[in-house]
């Protein structure tokens, strides 16, 4: 049986849901699961972490330097804490990608990045070449295994657990060469296309720049980012930076709604890792339906307003 340490991701106040996905991966490996919360004030975050299923203990490591999640500050502390664990996991977010390799180098461990699947306690599946090749790798078990967890591949662990919360401290020396200055949260009304959990994209079928309003409107209703196929970009409906696909952005949202997009292979390569794809198109033979989890054939100008009404009913 393994003993697994999951490093919590948070914004100083709330636990980030990516942590719960890393816990699912830890559970797949099997063993006792502890969560470490490094923060200035970890109380609320630790409470949330303790509710996650499968978690045995939550360790609070509270010190003023931990208020901001700087890799150079956290890494030496994690190194100390990692002793005795068979695995250290962290979500493969910008936070996890920043911190864990620094820990791995200090421990002399070759890290496994972006675990999609667990074969056994030392064998993992991960993507390479932007997901165009999937490789199974075996990692040396000693001294321990460090891995980042590809969040899109794992469901969040459920809540309802009640792990023990304890305080921990390490005597790690904290460097002063790295200093937090500020964080500018995205101010845009719409989420960023690259990282949004929901994306609505329009294609040539939308018909014109003016008609694209209907896509924006529907996306706002869903709280989604807006994307487009190359055909829509080439036709001048939307700017180039909204393009999803081979020559545009490659994205992996939880929900992708393709509206009036035929589904050229160039577009599909940009959404192959989306969790759920919904296609709305008037052509029942459009190739998008071959990859969509849910398809609806019909006129988008009728369907979208109707869909908005239905969504209103849910609220």
């Amino acid at each position: 049986m393994g003993k697994i340490l999951v490093i919590a991701e948070h914004d100083g106040k709330k636990l980030n849901s990516a942590t719960a996905r890393a816990v699912s991966c830890a559970h797949a490996i099997g063993g006792d699961i502890d969560i470490a919360v490094f923060a200035g004030d970890a109380a609320a975050i630790a409470d949330a972490a303790a509710k996650l299923q499968h978690v045995k203990r939550v360790l609070k490591i509270e010190r003023a330097e931990n208020a901001h999640q700087l890799a150079a500050v956290l890494a030496p502390q994690i190194v100390k804490l990692a002793s005795g664990y068979s695995h250290v996991l962290i979500p493969s977010t910008t936070f996890g990608k920043d911190v864990l390799p620094r820990v791995a180098a200090l421990l002399g461990v070759q890290q496994v990045s972006d675990v999609m699947n667990v074969v056994d306690a030392t064998t993992f599946v991960r993507p390479m070449y932007a997901g165009n090749a999937i490789v199974t790798v075996k990692a040396p078990a000693e001294p321990c295994i460090l891995a980042t967890v590809r969040t899109a591949s794992w469901q969040e662990a459920g809540t309802g657990g009640s792990a023990e919360i304890t305080s921990a401290s390490t005597d790690a020396a904290i460097p002063s060469h790295t200093r937090f200055v500020e964080l500018n949260a995205q101010q845009s009304d719409r989420p960023d296309l690259q990282s949004a959990p929901r994306v609505v994209s329009g294609g040539r079928g939308v018909g014109s720049k003016e008609n694209f309003e209907i896509i924006y409107k529907f996306a706002d209703k869903l709280g989604a980012a807006v994307g487009a196929s190359r055909a829509a970009v080439d036709a001048g409906f939307v700017p180039n930076d909204l393009q999803v696909g081979q020559t545009g952005k490659i994205i992996a949202p939880d929900l992708y709604v393709a509206v009036g997009i035929s589904g050229a292979i160039q577009h599909l390569t940009g959404i192959k890792d989306a969790r759920t794809i919904v296609a709305i198109n008037k052509d029942p033979d459009a190739p998008i339906f071959q990859v969509a989890d849910i398809g609806l054939v019909g006129d988008l100008f009728k369907i979208l307003p109707e869909l908005e009404q239905e969504l209103d009913k849910l609220k």
């Binding site: 040539r204 018909g207 014109s208 190359r230 055909a231 970009v233 080439d234 036709a235 180039n240 081979q246 020559t247 050229a264 292979i265 160039q266 190739p287």
Partner: protein, 525 residues
């Protein structure tokens, strides 16, 4: 920058010229410009190569053969009907004993390393955009600008194209080169010649389930799916490691504006005998390229002050053999030999015309034009020309491909007997995907259509916009917005085949060089 010789195009003709020149005159400075992101990226050919010129140029080549190089084993020539297959005797020109199936792209990549080892500067990613002419003499070329915005203004990373001055400019751009085209017009090199006539070749590399491919087998077909009025035929070349090349060549003098070369190729793949071979396999790469079919009567004068034409930029392809690589290599070598001996382009035309290559092309000059009267007359004429060794006292003329289209309602042939398709690619966009073509989308469209009023006006009624069908990459689309039609140019799809520049019935499309490194990235084609 200044060189003794600048070669435009790193294909077989250009590289053979550069290599031979350095072998003969090591002190001459030579550079080769190539618009593809790397040598071979834009090169597509059948290709079964006659090895003699390469044996002469680089006798060691067989010791380090290019990535794909399979000795020819057996020839098959068949006539297809929709479901049937009739074995025909293999015409003597199509006997491939001693030849090699190669990837011309990988052969050229290898030739480029040989050229560099001899001191040639090879510049992939740098297209020659325009000739430099001074006092009636070509003095070099101007490379294309990099980093232009959509509207043609310089962007933040703009880098102006460099002028390359050279004593002699060797145009080795391949079929319908954009600089060659301008110079042929400027210097009237095609005066008194038959117009050049072209074909379009489409090709795919397939990885098959184990055991199906028979390495070295060379299969050609005529007949279905093209009607007897259209010149066209297929090739299947069996490689090692369960791979095959599958392709189709169609004369661009076809008449029916509704005809779609891409669809004809895909239909051919669904002939029962071909589908059985391909089914369950996967496409590795795909592409298309025009080829010059006019032969010696369409060959322009190969020299002008300060410059010369070699290979398919001139049109040295041997159509009955469906081979142009050996003649391209040879013309490049001859150009180098001429330059080494005389230092200028003057006299090259006569020198080439006295060569064995010219005799080879003279002998078969009437075979391709014989097919203007259809397949059956063409075959009979070909047999006659073959048994008389091309000694009959006439030369048949060629015609402009852009003038060959009939108008809508003008007695068009009945619809083809096409079948439902199941093999990939589903459509042209999917095919472009296998060409791995990329163009930075901030740049201006490199396909120039100066008068789009023709597209939404006359062309709709006269030909129903054939550009939307002859282009194998779906670059041209007629889009209707609020009841108004307009031409949309999806320039980023372009695979640089040049068909549009050749076949547009109003000569309204001009292919120009996009930003360096743009275009297809063919893999082992």
């Amino acid at each position: 920058m200044t060189y003794d010789v600048v070669v435009v195009g790193a294909g077989p003709a250009g590289l053979a010229c550069a290599i031979r020149l350095k072998q003969l005159s090591p002190d001459k400075t030579v550079c080769v410009l190539e618009k593809g992101s790397q040598v071979g990226a834009h090169i597509l050919s059948g290709c079964v190569m006659e090895p003699a010129p390469l044996d002469e140029l680089l006798p060691e080549w067989r010791k380090t053969p290019p990535a794909i190089c399979v000795p020819a084993a057996k020839d098959e020539f068949v006539l297809l009907t929709r479901t049937g297959r009739l074995r025909l005797p293999t015409p003597p020109q199509m006997n491939n004993h001693g030849n090699f199936i190669v990837s011309l792209g990988s052969l050229c990549a290898w030739l480029a390393t040989q050229a560099e080892a001899l001191g040639v500067d090879v510049f992939p990613g740098f297209p020659a955009a325009a000739p430099l002419i001074e006092d009636g003499k070509v003095i070099g070329v101007r490379c294309g600008d990099m980093g232009l915005e959509k509207d043609g203004t310089p962007g933040p990373n703009f880098a102006a194209g460099v002028d390359i001055h050279a004593g002699v400019t060797v145009l080795a751009e391949g079929c319908r080169g954009s600089v060659s085209k301008r110079l042929i017009r400027e210097f009237k090199l095609d005066a008194d010649r038959s117009p050049q006539t072209y074909g379009i070749g489409l090709k795919e590399l397939w990885q098959l389930p184990p055991g199906r491919a028979k390495p070295g087998l060379i299969q050609h077909s005529i007949g279905w799916p093209v009607d007897s009025k259209t010149y066209g035929g297929s090739f299947i070349y069996h490689l090692d490691n369960d791979r095959v090349y599958v392709g189709f060549v169609i004369g661009l003098d076809y008449e029916n504006p509704d005809f779609m070369p891409f669809e004809a190729f895909q239909q051919f793949k669904h002939h029962p005998s071909v589908k059985a071979l391909l089914e369950g396999g996967e496409i590795v790469s795909a592409g298309a390229r025009a080829l010059a079919e006019g032969g010696i009567q369409s060959l322009p004068k190969l020299e002008m002050p300060g410059a010369m034409l070699v290979g398919d930029a001139a049109g040295t392809l041997n159509v009955p053999k469906i081979k142009g690589v050996h003649t391209a290599l040879r013309s490049g070598m001859l150009a180098a030999e001429h330059l080494a001996a005389h230092g200028s382009s003057e006299g090259f035309d006569a020198f080439w015309r006295s060569s064995a290559s010219a005799k080879e092309l003279h002998k078969i000059r009437n075979i391709r034009p014989g097919f203007h009267k259809g397949l059956w007359v063409g075959l009979l004429n070909a047999a006659l020309e073959t048994i008389t060794f091309g000694k009959l006292p006439w030369t048949l003329r060629n015609h402009n491909d852009w003038q060959s289209l009939k108008k809508q309602g003008d007695n068009l042939a009945a619809a083809e007997d096409y079948v439902a398709r199941t093999l990939p690619p589903r459509d042209r966009l999917a095919s472009v995907y296998f060409a791995a073509t990329t163009h930075d989308e901030h740049q201006p469209a490199h396909l120039k259509v100066p008068d789009t009023s023709i597209c939404v006006g006359r062309c709709v009624t006269e030909y129903a916009n054939p550009c939307t069908r002859f282009c194998p990459a779906q670059v041209y689309e007629m889009v209707e917005e609020n009841g108004v039609k307009r031409l949309q140019i999806n320039a980023a799809n372009c695979v640089h085949c040049k068909t549009c520049d050749i076949k547009d019935p109003y000569e309204n499309i001009t292919w120009t060089t996009p930003e360096g490194g743009s275009g297809p990235n063919y893999q082992n084609l």
